[in-house]
Point group: C2
């Protein structure tokens, strides 16, 4: 049961952080939505909200990393995997009516500059996603420098199109960026 509560706290926080930043995410809401018993929060996370949010970012990031590996395995080329990610973004934006975003982005924008533990989590997540894609680009014969550059651009685009699609309530920016990326990675 202890593990379940901890897991529910992490997953609930991760889910909320996909829709808003760290500063707006209160412990009362997390406890209520996670149906966590009183006292369980500081039992599992003695460091409080920051420690819980860092664990939530790590959890979200790990799931995205696994999901990225899947896209790379399912597709014949890194290019196709990157385009598949953008296709899935389009579906997810429509399905959630632009509510869902990236739990790394919201925390990066409002908290990483001022919270060391959160900066470690968001930094680790972003570097890992770049590394996963860079390794795949290298496996296709690109130089380490080119692979790192294109992988960085891909993650930049993954984060940037979320801002654009949510801000415009439209999948058009994802579609336009996808077309350009298809040409760049050809």
């Amino acid at each position: 049961m202890a593990l379940d509560t901890r897991d529910r706290l992490i997953r609930t926080t991760s889910r909320i952080l996909r829709t808003q930043g760290y500063a707006a995410t209160g412990l009362n809401r997390i406890m209520a939505e996670a149906e966590a018993p009183k006292g369980s929060m500081y039992f599992h996370f003695p460091g409080g909200k920051e420690e819980l949010a860092a664990a939530a970012v790590d959890n979200f990031a790990g799931r995205v990393t696994g999901w990225l590996h899947q896209r790379l395995e399912e597709n014949a080329t890194v290019r196709e995997a990157v385009l598949a990610v953008l296709d899935l973004y389009i579906q997810d934006m429509e399905r959630t009516e632009y509510r869902n975003g990236c739990a790394v982005a919201t925390v990066a924008l409002d908290a990483s500059a001022t919270h060391d533990l959160l900066a470690e989590s968001t930094g680790r997540a972003l570097r890992e996603w770049v590394d996963v894609l860079a390794e795949a680009f290298e496996a296709e014969g690109r130089s380490p420098e080119e692979a790192h550059g294109l992988a960085t651009l891909a993650v930049v685009v993954f984060e940037g199109v979320i801002v654009m699609a949510k801000g415009e309530r439209s999948t058009e920016p994802i579609i336009a960026a996808r077309e350009v990326m298809a040409r760049i990675l050809a």
Copy 2:
């Protein structure tokens, strides 16, 4: 004096929204930091916090648009202007120790999906920035489709690198994305 208070409310809100989302930005903090007289808030913004935040996003967006036009005028090509924007981001990130971000991005990520007035402001801002750059690309002889695609990619990169730099507390992702953009736009 009335105009001054209104302007201070807008500028203070815009400044705060560069560092955190709409949900976390409370009226008490805005009133205090803007040194706004009690009652002035609803006098100038009968629609309350959402109306003020929308005005703040519009104000921020307008200043960025003017600033984008300046970069285009100062540089011989759109490519050089885009690279100059990224150079200035690198300086600004270092100068503000990764605190400053984009007031459109924070609001887009936490509020535009659920607040119509804010979605109008963030959508207008993003579409305007894309249009400014697309027009400049077209003036260099690119087709409307190619111009729109590259302009969208540029704004996607402008938003995405802020997430990356703040999330990693590093300018390295901006530098890496800048190098790739320099090649793409050559």
